[in-house]
Symmetry: none
Subunit: 283 residues, 2 copies
Amino acid sequence: MNYQNLLSSINVTFDSLNKSEKKVAGAILDDPEAATRSSIAILAKKAGVSEPSVNRFCKRFDTAGFPDFKLKLAQCLVSGVKFVNSNVQLNDNVFKYTPKIFDNAIHDLVAIKNQIDSSIIEKVVDQLLKARRIFFFGLGTSGAVARDAENKFFRFDLPVSFHVDVLTMRMLSAAAKPGDLFFMISHTGRTKAIIDATDDARGNGAIVVGLTTPGSMLAKKSDLAIEVLVSENTEEYMAMTSRIVHLVILDVLATGFILSKGPEFLNHMEKINLSLKPTRYKQ
Amino acid sequence: MNYQNLLSSINVTFDSLNKSEKKVAGAILDDPEAATRSSIAILAKKAGVSEPSVNRFCKRFDTAGFPDFKLKLAQCLVSGVKFVNSNVQLNDNVFKYTPKIFDNAIHDLVAIKNQIDSSIIEKVVDQLLKARRIFFFGLGTSGAVARDAENKFFRFDLPVSFHVDVLTMRMLSAAAKPGDLFFMISHTGRTKAIIDATDDARGNGAIVVGLTTPGSMLAKKSDLAIEVLVSENTEEYMAMTSRIVHLVILDVLATGFILSKGPEFLNHMEKINLSLKPTRYKQ
DNA sequence: GCATATTTTGTAATAAAATTACATAAATTA
DNA sequence: TAATTTATGTAATTTTATTACAAAATATGC
């Protein structure tokens, strides 16, 4: 757990806490600064629970105990990530909206980090390792994510491409074969072209991985779905945090892929990195 | 005494401390991070003094006692402290590397949020509002960022395009005119094609904004530079956090643009969002 | 240089705080 | 509704920090 965001973590996991843990969380969120200055007895009293309940609460958040928890809480207060009232307002000036946009992204990354099902990640990495070919499909915002994914995965010594053209998507999924992996990126998970391609590709025996919102059509139709639930309020001003989270998840998958390939694979990648040298001015 | 500078306070006043206080100061300065995790007994032993000497040392630095001292020491370490254990290791399994990748992204977003110069953001927003045309240039990873930027800014009712082709870049910058805004995205800030285009575009009276690393060639040559310093250790496994930060900064710029346009501009954007409805299955 | 005051430091006792073990209560499941 | 699991509190224990006081060490004045 990242101590820079202990507060966000508490906030994010609040609903999954049990009764007395919720009381403790409430007492801390009510005035985190005061919590760092309290003894376990004082905080227990404020929360209306016993001292061991506070202690158990601390351990649940991966801290060694109450003193360690206070320390990390104090540290996360320094960085000052706000998690409430982080919505951009019409009359915000640059000093107000800038940290808010950052906070939204940070908050959602913390949330997904805590929610993500690593066993799904593991399964997807396995499929990526097995795949004969990989296609990344995405439209609109997710098109940029697909492009970024291709920019990473093409280094992996197997045929990788990304597609943002619905006609090409149709043709490729119609011609899908076992051994192909179609990686579908769609925040809504309802984009017709993506869903149609999913049906076609699976019908032809290819594996489909969906990166999408929980319970969406795409999530249901994919062989493996990586489900990402982000805050709803970021779309109005187009600071869609879902794509940020998607990119980080693709980083995770790429990392898993490289680690599975073993250390000598890093040489192969270094060769690719070195190829860029002549494109840059020396400094 | 300001607890944000507790460490430097210890450093500065070192000479005026008495013998055992010097020993304590030495033990803390030697490894401040470890000090925050020690009990008073352990630190006393390390310093070779008695426990009350440590306690007196703490009180000399205007803290309530040892626990309070540790808290404030931990807080003053936050800004500088590196994520020592957040680097992916070769033998990490999925449950280890997944949170690490997230933590790296989160850490850098928090860092940049606290460092970013909002007045530069404001100036860039002003230029975006004034621009007659906007070009986003980026190569490789930054190409995906440029594409994402275009996907946002094309909604703003002015000619916007992104380019990932160096020949097109040359032609466009050669044909640049006053009123044009060239938005250059380059993490290294040394990519030849981008630097050359920057020179050409500025020579022709266009405004150039650079999104790059501090002090880079691009930063120096741009009219306005948004400088982003991220951790160095994320490139080996290609989880480049710089692009994540770049995307969030483009979100900030887009938000600034929309807010400056006023509330009626949201209607225009809503129209664009509604246009996507027929492309999706109902759920 | 020696007696006296002052400061520094440690020992031991005390107090405070946190943690653990265990028992009871609540909630869930069959 | 009984059995099982989970959640929670009480009380004992342990750890940790602080205080009071005495002994050194150092400094000061004669």
